[in-house]
């Protein structure tokens, strides 16, 4: 049991996490780094709201403001929301299907480190001459005209972290297709696994267009190509298409796992099977499918002509149907249930009206002629924050509370959690509801200042107050995390008491091999079925206790990603012309990456075996710990 050997010390722990291929530890890495970037993006949001607090404010200069707004959007989407959702996917989806790890543990680690180094690279732009300033959409004419290296940090950083996302998506797809426990048919998969599956398919199909678009951008800026240079026969509208063919599915990559988390929560805390499970699954697939048909609704004012606008308007409206199906099925899930208002459930309950509000404004914007007024105004800012914050971020906060015990073995404080919720929820509506009206009153988005003669002072001031409420909520959450970690009160398998799916049948956190014996799945909500039939052992098993084959830790993914990181600096500075060190750095960086690929290819790494005796010993240890806990205070919710 080499990787399970009890090492102590801070350095050893760090080394363990850098080299780990365990999906649960990689999940923690995703959560910590995604959480860190979430705080960075949050600080940027606060800077934006402070600047817009009053007319003619000079807290930020015009150029700095554009950098802050660009980095806020880019960070929140690519470096905060996606990684935190990846944390839950990594941690929970393999457990939900009864797998011992993901299909490609090595790739899982590689995906994380690529994301991490890409994100660090992008954020280093702040200290190396200025951040990107063309908006997270990076429209080509503005991006090409942008001075300094900001846009190059954007394109290289997103290329690297984009590889990471693509790898993660492929890994989840293969895992869910191949590694389900006996009896776990597709139509018995928990909804969170389903949404992970569909979101991964979207990643697989949506990231290549972004990569192509960014490659063109890199070639234009670094090598003097003319894909987007109008004066040389290029075309900037092509960038808009590439970006939104990626960008619209990207929204669903974020919201579908959020839907999955809420689906789990509604079922658990209503003690009721998901109403219309089949409809929910097909609605998920339909949303994913339609997600690729509607990108041009981001371009209604580009001048595509009435035929294209009408077609994309109708296609966009159709998406409201499966989304509505989901909302009503969730409502009917809690209808007739026994609702326990824990923190995750409060978030889920708050999500329904918030997301509905964001959804209906989405339909309003699908009306192309009306969108001519709403597009690029504060109305759209309000809309997408209603779906992203009211949907994705509420899901992330709910998921953090729900899965904290499964990831860390302790429960976040319910009391502090409720404080966080109220501050965040009230702040969220205070900040964004009023922005609908700012947009209707003629305020364009992405403006660093506004005149006192425009009539927007009061509403902007209110919006800023709301942002401070949200900030207080997040700070309380941080306090909660620190206090919970210090207290370190361990909990049992099913701390919420009403767990329904496989992850709640095993210890919190699970042993590194997850399931000592692969469980046999007899229906939807397998753990609930066993509970209702009075199975004291937890599950019934599909195999006898035996040796388990596990992968070895590896340092190679870290080195491989580091090589890309180093090479990016070389590429970025090479075109300055006056930096002789740039080309060697580019070559050394790529050398590190390709060298570690060669090592990986030539060196056989067959993993290791956990023997039956070791397993029995470990299981006994887990039982002893559980008994000790029961003897003391009963962990968990009740």
């Amino acid at each position: 049991m080499s990787s399970n050997a009890q090492k102590t010390g801070f350095g050893a722990t760090i080394w363990d996490y850098i080299t780990t291929v365990d999906h649960k530890k990689i999940a923690i890495l995703y959560l910590i780094s995604g959480g860190f970037f979430f705080l960075v993006g949050g600080v940027e949001a606060m800077l934006i709201r402070i600047q817009l607090m009053k007319a003619g404010n000079d807290f930020l200069s015009a150029g700095t403001y554009n950098e802050v707004l660009t980095m806020h959007g880019t960070t929140m989407i690519f470096l905060a929301a996606m990684p935190i959702l990846f944390a839950f996917m990594n941690s929970i989806a393999p457990l939900q299907i009864g797998a011992r790890d993901v299909a490609f543990p090595f790739l899982n680690s590689l995906g994380f480190w690529l994301f991490f180094f890409g994100g660090v690279f992008l954020n280093l732009s702040w200290f190396l001459g200025g951040a990107p300033d063309a908006g997270w959409t990076n429209y080509a004419s503005l991006a090409l005209a942008s001075e300094g290296h900001g846009i190059d940090f954007y394109s290289l950083g997103l290329t690297i972290s984009g590889f990471g996302s693509l790898i993660a998506g492929i890994n989840f797809l293969v895992t869910i297709i191949n590694m389900r426990a006996p009896g776990m048919t597709y139509m018995r998969m928990p909804l969170f696994t389903w949404t992970t599956f569909v979101a991964s398919a979207l990643i697989l199909l949506a990231f290549p267009p972004l990569t192509v678009g960014i490659f063109f951008m890199i070639f234009d800026r670094l090598f003097g190509a003319n894909f987007f240079d109008v004066t040389m026969g290029g075309n900037t509208i092509i960038w808009e298409h590439f970006f939104w063919i990626f960008g619209h599915p990207e929204v669903y990559i974020l919201i579908l796992p959020a839907f999955g988390i809420f689906s789990e929560i509604f079922a658990i805390f209503s003690r009721k099977r998901l109403f219309g499970y089949t409809a929910l699954v097909f609605a998920t697939i339909l949303i994913g499918f339609y997600g690729f048909m509607v990108w041009a609704h981001h371009m209604f004012t580009t001048g595509l002509g009435p035929t294209a606008n009408a077609v994309f308007a109708l296609a966009t409206m159709i998406i409201a149907v499966p989304t509505g199906i989901k909302i009503f099925n969730w409502l009917l899930t809690i209808w007739g249930g026994s609702i326990s208002f824990t923190v995750p459930m409060i978030y889920a309950v708050a999500f329904i009206p918030s997301f509905t509000a964001g959804g209906v404004t989405g339909v309003m914007q699908a009306i192309a002629p009306l969108d001519y007024q709403l597009h690029d105004s504060y109305f759209i800012v309000a809309h997408f924050h209603y779906v992203i914050v009211g949907g994705v971020v509420l899901a992330i906060l709910a998921g953090t509370h729900l899965y904290w015990p499964k990831m860390f073995g302790t429960m976040l404080s319910e009391k502090l959690g409720k404080w966080t919720f109220w501050f965040f929820f009230i702040g969220f509506h205070l900040t964004f509801f009023i922005q609908h009206f700012l947009g209707l009153m003629g305020m364009p988005r992405r403006v660093y200042t506004f005149g006192a003669d425009q009539g927007w002072d009061l509403f902007n001031a209110i919006s800023t107050v709301g942002a401070f409420f949200m900030a207080v909520g997040v700070i309380i959450l941080l306090v909660n995390v620190v206090m919970t970690t210090i207290k370190n009160e361990r909990v049992g398998n099913d701390p919420w008491g009403d767990g329904r799916t496989l992850e709640w049948a095993i210890p919190s956190p699970p042993p590194f091999y997850n399931f000592a014996q692969t469980p046999l799945v007899r229906g939807l909500d397998p753990y609930w079925i066993e509970k209702m039939e009075g199975n004291k052992e937890g599950m019934i098993y599909a195999e006898p206790l035996g040796d388990i084959h596990m992968p070895n830790n590896s340092f190679i993914p870290f080195v491989m990603s580091l090589g890309m990181f180093v090479a990016s600096f070389g590429a970025l500075y090479h075109l300055d012309g006056d930096k002789a060190w740039a080309l060697p750095v580019l070559i050394i960086g790529l050398g590190i990456t390709f060298g570690s690929m060669l090592v990986r290819s030539w060196k056989d790494d067959l993993g290791f075996i956990v023997t039956k005796e070791e397993l029995i010993a470990d299981q006994e240890r887990i039982q002893r710990e559980a008994q000790a806990r029961e003897g003391g205070k009963n962990g968990g919710l009740k």
Partner: protein, 360 residues
């Protein structure tokens, strides 16, 4: 859609009601106080979709509130195990069908209006004498200002669009550099100003801007175009047809030379330092490097967003970068043989520029 006079009146009433309820913003810029046919159509769609969406929200809210009130664990009992219902095909059908019907209600006016607002076929219509029947304005977006060319009239102006009320005005939009977006919220929705192609649409101006508090409608750039995107404003004067014709005639005349000594001094200085980029005659001029200043004295703002007074004008000329970061106007010293303009020179320039008028 909703062409009937009754419905029109109903919506006008609702508009008035909403104004009373306030929170509608300023009439110079709010989409909620439409002052033209296009904005009115879009406002009607806003109201229609808001009503439909309000219906959805009410239905969801009722089920939602009932559910979380009736089925709290404290109410149904701690140990109650609910029936594990699988679903209901009938309910699934209902909440699939009803949204589809609601969307159809929205889809018909959407498609109609999409084509209606894009219909510029009448743009090139000519009278028998070969004169264009309707006014066309060529708009060019530049960092960070707007140029308005009236090709039929042979005149050019900048920063303040002047249009006649009560008729369709057609716009050809193109950018000279970065992508912009042309938006007059209270008159109609925006259309992007792309660097690679001309976008065309029409607007109608139903109100004379003189009735407004500030005497002009506010126009905006709605697409991020660089540091001073927020300051890329323009103003719109809508005049009745008679006044408009008079304005055009004024533009077509030669500018009178200034009579005051200080303004004459300013003119001499202007012709030495500024005229390479800024034309002071609106006639037939080819597009300029900098904004055409023929109507400068008539305008409501300096640089599109500052109050129109000599103080602001002098500050602007002395250091444009301080007020509109990233704009392309050279700094004062490079225009004036390496020396910043003296106070006296600035006074002269301001006096000259403020005297450039075509209106009464």
């Amino acid at each position: 859609m909703m062409k009937g006079p009754k419905k029109w009146r109903l919506f006008a009433l609702m508009t008035a009601l909403l104004v009373v309820l306030s929170g509608c913003g300023r009439e110079e810029i709010s989409t909620l106080i439409p002052a033209g046919k296009v904005a009115q159509d879009q406002f009607n769609l806003l109201i229609l979709s808001s009503v439909v969406m309000l219906f959805v929200i009410i239905v969801v809210s009722i089920i939602y509130v009932l559910a979380i009130v009736k089925f709290r664990r404290s109410k149904v009992g701690e140990d109650m195990i609910p029936e594990q219902v699988e679903g209901s095909a009938r309910l699934e059908f209902i909440w699939t069908a009803i949204p589809i019907v609601l969307l159809l209600i929205l889809a018909v006016p959407t498609v109609y209006s999409t084509f209606d607002l894009a219909d510029v076929t009448a743009m090139d219509a000519q009278t028998e004498e070969g004169i264009a029947e309707s006014l066309t304005v060529n708009v060019t977006g530049k960092l960070y200002w707007w140029e308005f060319e009236y090709p039929e009239q042979g005149i050019i102006t900048a920063q303040e669009l002047v249009v006649p009320t009560g008729e369709r005005v057609y716009f050809n939009l193109i950018s000279a550099d970065i992508k912009h977006s042309f938006w007059i919220p209270s008159i109609g929705g925006k259309l992007d100003v792309n660097p690679e192609n001309v976008n065309t649409f029409y607007l109608e101006f139903d109100r004379e801007s003189a009735e407004l508090d500030n005497g002009v409608f506010y126009g905006k750039c709605a697409e991020l175009c660089g540091p001073s995107h927020a300051l890329m404003d323009f103003k719109v004067k809508s005049l009745n047809r008679e006044d408009f014709d008079q304005w055009v005639a004024g533009m077509q005349e030669e500018q009178e030379a200034p009579t005051e000594a200080v303004a004459q001094e300013g003119q001499a200085l202007f012709e030495q330092s500024c005229i390479a980029c800024h034309a002071t005659s609106g006639v037939g001029a080819t597009p300029g490097v900098g904004p055409n200043l023929a109507t400068f004295g008539d305008r409501n703002t300096v640089a599109g967003f500052m109050e129109h007074n000599e103080e602001n004008l002098k500050n602007w000329i002395a250091d444009p970068q301080q007020y509109k970061p990233g704009n392309l106007m050279p700094n004062a010293a490079s225009l004036n043989n390496g020396e910043p303009f003296s106070d006296q020179e600035l006074d002269a320039l301001a006096a000259y520029l403020m005297g450039l008028k075509v209106e009464e």
